[in-house]
């Protein structure tokens, strides 16, 4: 047995800070099947950059697996995954020159839909593009993912009262933008 092998096999005792994964490979695959597409939609619609969304999606899952996951409840695990993705988006926006929603190719927000739906989506995309990044996240989590104020607070790390206020203001602004563009 090589020294490296010995270290790897002794890992749980040698490095207790490494959490043992709550999911095995099969459980993770099932969780991935259920959560990947909504997570992709969230990252894509909030970042406006398909390549970035793909990178962040991979990173979110790798970090999800590397951390101590919430006890087997699927809903909690999914919320935790969105929390990781939210932090990754925030880290991206903190760096200079984050891309805007305006750059998003049309095919990414109107694939396989009717002309009416496409018009509504373009209207939403334009309005979202003018919102602040954090407001985009909160709006998406509330309206596309149907998360409660409390759940959004858990995902974003904000206080529930702040989420309520931010969402109220963002909705007001969104309404103005959407009605102005009709």
């Amino acid at each position: 047995m090589s020294w490296n092998q010995a270290i790897l096999e002794a890992q749980p005792a040698a490095a207790p800070a490494v959490a043992s994964p709550a999911m095995d490979s099969a459980e993770f695959t099932a969780f991935y099947e259920r959560s990947a597409r909504p997570l992709w939609a969230y990252l894509l619609r909030c970042s406006g950059d398909p390549a970035l969304a793909e990178d962040l999606m991979q990173e979110a899952y790798v970090r999800f697996l590397g951390a101590t996951q919430p006890a087997n409840a699927d809903i909690a695990a999914r919320r935790y995954l969105f929390r990781i993705a939210t932090n990754l988006l925030r880290d991206h926006w903190r760096r200079p020159k984050a891309s805007s929603l305006e750059d998003l190719p049309e095919s990414f927000f109107a694939a396989g839909t009717s002309a009416d739906e496409m018009a509504v989506q373009q209207q939403l995309a334009r309005a979202m593009g003018q919102m602040r990044p954090r407001d985009r996240q909160i709006l998406w989590l509330a309206h596309a993912e149907s998360y409660s104020h409390h759940e959004i607070a858990e995902i974003t790390g904000l206080a529930t009262a702040s989420v309520r206020l931010l969402l109220f203001r963002a909705r007001k602004r969104m309404r103005k933008l959407m009605e102005g563009s009709r």
Partner: protein
């Protein structure tokens, strides 16, 4: 503005996918006449269709590959932790050696017979205070010389 009592019903209809054709005709009539509910239905429908179409463009990633990448990263991080010397060990070592050094010096200091040492080494007629003053002067001079003579590392 007061919240319309039927807003929740409209929200539920859109979220469950029943809006507009799958829900009661009364609700559709209400939405047609209520500005607040009409906006709510429009907003939620826009998010729902945007989500649906975005989900259809999701890239094909392998869950198995992500699983192994996560395993590799965990192992790599565990290795790094083992290779990086912890801060606790050097701190404890330095503290123990310092205490030991002070103890040894204190014991040695007590054992020295200072008056005999001065009588043997210093010129006749010198007392402890004169020797101390000269020693302090010499130390000060050595310190100044060391500082002035230090090579300039900035260059």
């Amino acid at each position: 503005m007061k919240t319309c009592p039927q807003k929740t019903e409209v929200e539920q209809a859109v979220r469950s996918g029943q809006w507009p054709l799958g829900c009661a005709a009364e609700l559709r009539e209400h939405v047609a006449s209520c500005e607040q509910c009409a906006h709510e239905a429009r907003l939620l429908s826009a998010f729902a269709t945007t989500r649906e179409s975005a989900m259809r463009t999701a890239p094909a990633q392998s869950a198995g590959l992500l699983w192994w990448r996560a395993q590799l990263r965990r192992r790599h991080e565990a290795m790094e932790r083992l290779e990086r010397p912890g801060l606790a060990i050097p701190t404890a070592t330095i503290a123990a050696s310092t205490i030991l050094l002070i103890a040894v010096l204190a014991t040695a200091w007590k054992r020295i017979d200072w008056s005999r040492l001065i009588a043997a080494c210093a010129p006749a007629g010198w007392n402890v205070w004169m020797v101390t003053a000269v020693a302090a002067l010499l130390c000060g001079f050595a310190l100044v010389a060391a500082i002035v003579g230090l090579p300039d590392k900035r260059g």
